[in-house]
C-alpha cells in the first residue's frame, strides 16, 4: 500500500479527487458456454467461469501459451490501467449468484490449452509472466476445456518457484473421471513443500491416460479476493477498506477472472461489480 496513506486520502480519491479516477465496473456471467448450457458443477470442486457467456463476453479457450491482459476478451473487470505513476486499487466488490458456493476473483496471469488427456508424460507449458513476475503467491491450476476421460489418473507439473529454483515438482493430484474431468473443471496443483509461489511452469504430466484426449490446460493465477456466498440471490458486498483482505492492488494489465467452488450441482449465474480507484 505504498501510495495509500489514510482514510481521508482514500475518500478524496473515491470522489474523483487528485486523479482518483473511480471506476465501477459491473459484470454478469451466465451458466452457458458456446451457446449451450454449461456442464453441471460438482459440489466441492472448482469451476472456471472464464468461458461463461455474459458481459463482458466470454473468454476463449487458449490453444498455445498466452498471457491474458485487461484487453483480452473475457477480462471481468474491463478496468482501465492507472495513469502516470499511479496505482490501481480494488476497494469494493459485490457479487450475487444463483448458486451458493465460494467465489474467487483472480488475476489470470498465463494460460495454455490443448493439452491431451491421453498423453502420458510431460506436455510443454512454457511462457513468460509479465505480471507478478516474482512468482510470490502465484498458483498452478489444471483447467479442463473439453471433457477428458473416465480413468482416474494423477497429474504433476514441473515449475520454477518464487526463488527462481527450476525443476520443482507439484504434488500429485487426481485428474480424470467424474468430478475431475468435466469442462470448466479447475484442479489446484499444490506446490512442493516449502514453496510459496511460481515464476513459470515448464510442463505438466499425466501419470497415465485418462482414456479420452479432450482438452485441458494449465492456468497460472494469483488469487485476489474470495467471497463465501451463502445466501444465493441476496449476495454479498465487500468493503475493502474496512473488511478483509483490505484494498487489493490491481497490477497494470491484470486480467481479472472468476471461478467458484460449488456447494451444489446447480449451474450458476453471477452478477457483480468491482470498484477501483487510482492512488
Amino acid at each position: 500500500m505504498a501510495n495509500i496513506t489514510d482514510v481521508s486520502m482514500v475518500l478524496n480519491r473515491f470522489t474523483g479527487g487528485n486523479f482518483g479516477q473511480p471506476q465501477f465496473e459491473s459484470f454478469w456471467k451466465d451458466g452457458r458456454v458456446s451457446g449451450a448450457a454449461a456442464a453441471a458443477p460438482i459440489a466441492g470442486q472448482w469451476t472456471s467461469l472464464w468461458q461463461y457467456e455474459g458481459q463482458p463476453g466470454a473468454g476463449a479457450a487458449p490453444t498455445t501459451v498466452a498471457v491474458p491482459t485487461n484487453l483480452t476478451a473475457g477480462n471481468l473487470g474491463d478496468q482501465r490501467d492507472p495513469g502516470g505513476v499511479r496505482e490501481l486499487w480494488l476497494t469494493a466488490a459485490n457479487i450475487t449468484a444463483l448458486a451458493a458456493g465460494y467465489y474467487m476473483i483472480y488475476d489470470r496471469l498465463l494460460h495454455i490449452g490443448n493439452l491431451s488427456g491421453t498423453v502420458v508424460g510431460p506436455q510443454t507449458v512454457g511462457g513468460v509472466l509479465t505480471r507478478n513476475t516474482s512468482g510470490a503467491g502465484n498458483q498452478i491450476w489444471a483447467e479442463v476445456y473439453t471433457q477428458i476421460g473416465a480413468n482416474t489418473v494423477a497429474i504433476t507439473a514441473s515449475y520454477t518457484n518464487q526463488d527462481g529454483t527450476a525443476g520443482q515438482r507439484t504434488q500429485q493430484v487426481v485428474i480424470g473421471n467424474t468430478g475431475f474431468r468435466e469442462a470448466q473443471r479447475m484442479i489446484q496443483m499444490p506446490l512442493a513443500p516449502g514453496d510459496t509461489g511460481v515464476q513459470s511452469v515448464q510442463s505438466a504430466a499425466l501419470t497415465a491416460t485418462s482414456g479420452t484426449a479432450g482438452a485441458f490446460g494449465i492456468t497460472l493465477l494469483e488469487p485476489l479476493i474470495g467471497f463465501c456466498l451463502c445466501t444465493p440471490g441476496a449476495g454479498v458486498v465487500r468493503d475493502l477498506i474496512a473488511q478483509r483482505p483490505g484494498p487489493v492492488k490491481i497490477l497494470a494489465g491484470a486480467c481479472l477472472a472468476l471461478m467458484y467452488c460449488a456447494n451444489t450441482t446447480t449451474v450458476t449465474q453471477v452478477q457483480g461489480g468491482l470498484h477501483f480507484i487510482e492512488v
Binding site: 482514500v10 478524496n12 480519491r13 452457458r32 457467456e53 458481459q55 441476496a234
Partner: protein, 278 residues
C-alpha cells in the same frame, strides 16, 4: 467536485442535498433471477410501445423529483448513503435505465425489429458497461428456446451478435423478468440494439422488449425482515455513483430498481437514499 477529506463527507451526510424515500410492493419472482420493478407500484412505469430514451422525468423513475437542470454546471449529484429493508433476502441493483422498447413477440421466429433500433444513448453514450436485457411485460410462452440480439458495441461496431440466451418456459418468461442478453466475445457494452432473433417460438406471443441500462450500485439485504444501511464510503468503499446527466434538462438519470431474490418474492421493499451535491 471531490470531497477533500472525511470531515467534508460527514458534513454532506449531515446535510444531504436530497433524500429519496420510496416503497415498492412485492412481486412474484424466481429465486436467483433478475426481475424489474419498472411496472411495480408505486412509481410504476408503463410498458413501452415505442423505442424511446428515458430520463428522470419519465413516469417509472423511482426518484422522480430529481428534475434535470437542477444541478449547476460543473457540479455533481452522488449517492452517499442507502438504506434498504425487505421481507426476504434480496440483492437490489440501482440502475440508470437508459432506453427501452416493447412490442416484441414470443412467437415470431423471424428477425424482429419492432420498435427497434433503440435510440442513441444520451447518457453513457459510448455504451461502455451498458447492459442489455429482454424485459418481459406480458408473460410469453411455456416452450423454452433461445434468443440473440444484434447490436452496436461499445466501440461503435455494428452488426455484433450476442450469444444465445435462454428465453421462454418457467424462469425465463414471467412478467417483470429481465433476461440478461450476453454479448459477443470481446465486447464490454452496448450502444444500441438493432434487432432480436428467437430461435423458435415460445408458443405464446406475450409482450417483451429491449432495455438498455447502466448498473450503478448493488446492495445486498442478507436477512429476513431486517434493514441494512450502507454508508457509501465506509460500507460500500467508494461506491458513491454520480448520477449522469443531471446538469442538462431532459437528460437526467432515470433511476430504476432490479431485484434478485433468495426466495420467490422480495416482499415489500423500502429504500431511503441520501444524495449529495458537490
Amino acid at each position: 467536485m471531490a470531497l477533500a477529506d472525511y470531515n467534508a463527507f460527514l458534513a454532506k451526510l449531515a446535510a444531504p442535498n436530497k433524500t429519496h424515500t420510496i416503497t415498492k410492493v412485492s412481486l412474484t419472482t424466481v429465486a436467483g433471477r433478475s426481475f424489474s420493478l419498472w411496472t411495480v407500484a408505486p412509481f410504476a412505469g408503463a410498458a413501452p410501445t415505442t423505442a424511446v430514451g428515458v430520463a428522470g422525468t419519465t413516469t417509472g423513475c423511482v426518484w422522480p423529483y430529481q428534475s434535470a437542470g437542477t444541478i449547476a454546471a460543473g457540479r455533481s449529484l452522488r449517492i452517499i448513503q442507502h438504506e434498504m429493508a425487505a421481507a426476504n433476502p434480496t440483492m437490489l441493483m440501482i440502475c440508470d435505465r437508459l432506453a427501452h422498447s416493447g412490442g416484441l413477440s414470443g412467437t415470431v421466429t423471424t428477425y424482429q425489429t419492432t420498435n427497434l433500433p433503440t435510440p442513441p444513448l444520451v447518457r453513457y453514450t459510448d455504451g461502455a458497461g451498458v447492459w442489455c436485457a429482454a424485459e418481459i411485460y406480458t408473460q410469453i410462452g411455456a416452450t423454452g428456446t433461445t434468443g440473440t440480439i444484434n447490436y452496436t458495441n461499445q466501440a461503435g461496431t455494428s452488426g455484433r451478435t450476442g450469444a444465445d440466451a435462454p428465453i421462454g418456459a418457467t424462469t425465463y418468461r414471467e412478467a417483470s423478468r429481465i433476461v440478461l442478453m450476453p454479448l459477443q466475445s470481446g465486447d464490454t457494452g452496448v450502444r444500441s440494439v438493432q434487432g432480436f432473433q428467437l430461435k423458435a417460438t415460445t408458443a405464446t406471443a406475450g409482450n417483451f422488449g429491449v432495455t438498455l441500462f447502466k448498473p450503478l450500485m448493488m446492495v445486498p439485504l442478507l436477512s429476513y425482515n431486517y434493514e441494512h444501511v450502507y454508508d457509501t464510503i465506509l460500507g460500500l468503499s467508494g461506491q458513491n455513483p454520480v448520477l449522469a446527466g443531471m446538469t442538462t434538462p431532459g437528460t437526467s438519470a432515470c433511476i430504476w430498481y432490479v431485484v434478485i431474490t433468495f426466495t420467490t418474492a422480495p416482499g415489500i421493499i423500502n429504500t431511503s437514499t441520501l444524495l449529495s451535491e458537490d
